[in-house]
Amino acid sequence: MSGRTLYDKLWDEHAVQTAEDGTTLLYIDCQLVHEVTSPQAFEGLRLAGRAPWRPDSIVAVADHNVPTEPDLEEIPDAVSRHQVETLDANCAEYGLLEFPMGDPRQGIVHVIGPEQGITLPGMTVVCGDSHTSTHGALATLAFGIGTSQVEHVLATQCLPVRKPSNMLVRLEGRTAPGVGSKDLALALIGSIGTAGGTGCAIEFAGQAVEEMSMEARMTLCNMAIEAGARSGLVAVDDVTLGYVRGRTYAPEGSAWEEAERRWRELRSDDDAVFERAVVLQAGELAPQVTWGTSPEMVVSVDSAVPRPDEAEDLARAGGMKAALDYMGLKGGETVTDIELDRIFIGSCTNARIEDLREAAAVVRGRHCADNILQALVVPGSGRVKAQAESEGLDRIFTEAGFEWREPGCSMCLAMNADRLEPGERCAATSNRNFEGRQGEGGRTHLVSPAMAAAAACAGHFVDVREYLA
């Protein structure tokens, strides 16, 4: 019998039972809850006369709707406020731990999970949010679910699911300075497509991954869903354990010793079989910039926007043409000639302290270009914000003309007041460049924090490697 992958091991450990037809009842160790995808689940629970199976396994936080302007006492938008208050009321009714607005622990759900030690290696973690794949960076089986499944986990602590297949992505070599895990993720999606990982759990491995910090691994796993994979994973190593140790909800003392012993086994066996494998040479990559309305529409910063007439087939050419029309671009345009209106540094992809340090290192001694209407820096959590302020990063940003905001999802999906106006063009460190994602008619280019910072200073895209030279 061949060995097992990391994903196999996590799956087997949480399988309550598997039916003859292959449906597994999977035990869920922790559910993270936010205000947008939970109200209908709590209502469903109440209507059926049920209650949460294990309230001690749930953490709630409001992030999607919260305003990020400083010093707000309450949410000005009444509809958003009602949704956040509904979460507060549900948490109070069922005795759930919530980090409410204004709490220093509040932040984007996928930032606070690892940060607080809520997410631990070897767990199953679900959340009604597709970017739950982020938590797989800690060798956690984590995936996004819909509201019906949120209710299912609340009611039963389990999900009936079919096991996805195993996919291995090896990122070989060492990335150049100025090229980060966001660039690797975008290049991978450009290579395999946004459906390239559908039906799979992706394990990331290889030298570039081994040398990454935990936060860089989170960025990589966060973007696994943009490749269609519900889960991303990285094996446990000293970096993982070093990150988890001492966090608020991590075990201590003898429990830590026992946990560490078990977590050390969370890696794929040498003879494990993956149904699919992809190799990417990380050392050869340049910083990436998306040009279209799907994350797979991406090129290197030192190249040009592709031409539809050079597409492989008619269907693809049609998709490219529609995307270029929406984006207000022409095939053949040089990427570094594209001028920006707004800059967004934030989101569950890139709003951790290392992301802000990376952006600040580029901004230091520079200023936003005159054509930039707004450059936002939105820390991923209250804790990230406090850490950045203790390092003086907030002053670097504000002195350069950036706005320094309160934590939240913000302009990644524009459910709060932070949004693009129709036709405006934004360099964003978030994860989706879909039509209207950052505001109806808005045009999004996905980049790394360093690239967004450089674009803010230049007013157009630049190869950040020139700034760092």
């Binding site: 209908q40 938008d77 009602h82 819909g146 039963t156 909800y249 078990r262």
Partner: protein
């Protein structure tokens, strides 16, 4: 959940790949705490000429005459045929609720994104996966024949056109059963409550640090 056994309805074509859930239902409607009322906002940014929100009177918003679903012949459509990787992106189940609220019962595509596909099954919206070639044929037939209808028979796993053309499709057996019988799958899981409790007790013994972590005791 409303059971899905057989359904006959008008087919509408939306010839585009990688349609994401942000396009199916834009973010401003996600502020609702209800499951209903999203029908007028299905493909909102394509359907209307200007943005709206939860408080808009959608009946009065000017419609985009170029958007295929606004054409009179598709007003009664209940089956959508569309491109690959349908429903990618955000996990928002509102996308499925919008389809149902707009009167759709089935979506046919070469492939679906995982989360959308799961959400659809939980709500009685049938997703039918067909080959690229079969979807291309359906897109063309729908365009060419006004009032083009399909008869979907889930127990038989077939779709039949008035011309007699017939396609069979695959579906997960458990999903089929839940759809046909309109089952509450939470109740199905709770039948195994004792087994879950046993598993939980063993897990607590193995990994006690994962228990009694959060919330009020």
């Amino acid at each position: 959940m409303t059971p899905f056994v057989r359904h006959r309805g008008v087919v509408a074509p939306l010839d585009r790949s990688n349609i994401d859930t942000d396009v199916i239902i834009p973010k401003q409607y996600l502020k609702s705490v209800k499951r209903t009322g999203f029908g007028p906002n299905l493909f909102d940014s394509w359907r209307y000429l200007a943005p709206g929100d939860l408080e808009s009177d959608h009946a009065r918003r000017p419609r985009n005459p170029d958007f295929v679903l606004n054409r009179p012949r598709y007003q009664e459509a209940s089956i959508l045929v569309t491109g690959a990787n349908f429903g990618c992106g955000s996990s928002r189940e509102h996308a499925v609720w919008a389809f149902l609220d707009a009167g759709f019962r089935a979506v046919i595509a070469p492939s679906f994104a995982d989360i959308f596909d799961t959400n659809a099954a939980k709500n009685g919206l049938l997703t039918v996966q067909l080959s690229e070639a079969a979807v291309r044929t359906l897109l063309e037939e729908t365009e060419q024949t006004e009032g083009y209808q399909l008869d979907i028979d889930l127990p038989e796993q077939t779709m039949t056109a008035d011309s007699g053309a017939c396609w069979s499709f695959d579906i997960d057996s458990q999903r089929k059963r839940c759809l046909v019988e309109g089952l509450d799958d939470i109740a199905l899981t709770l039948r195994h409550a004792n087994r879950i409790r046993e598993f939980e007790a063993a897990r607590r013994a193995q990994a006690p640090w994962l228990f009694d972590r959060f919330g009020s005791p």
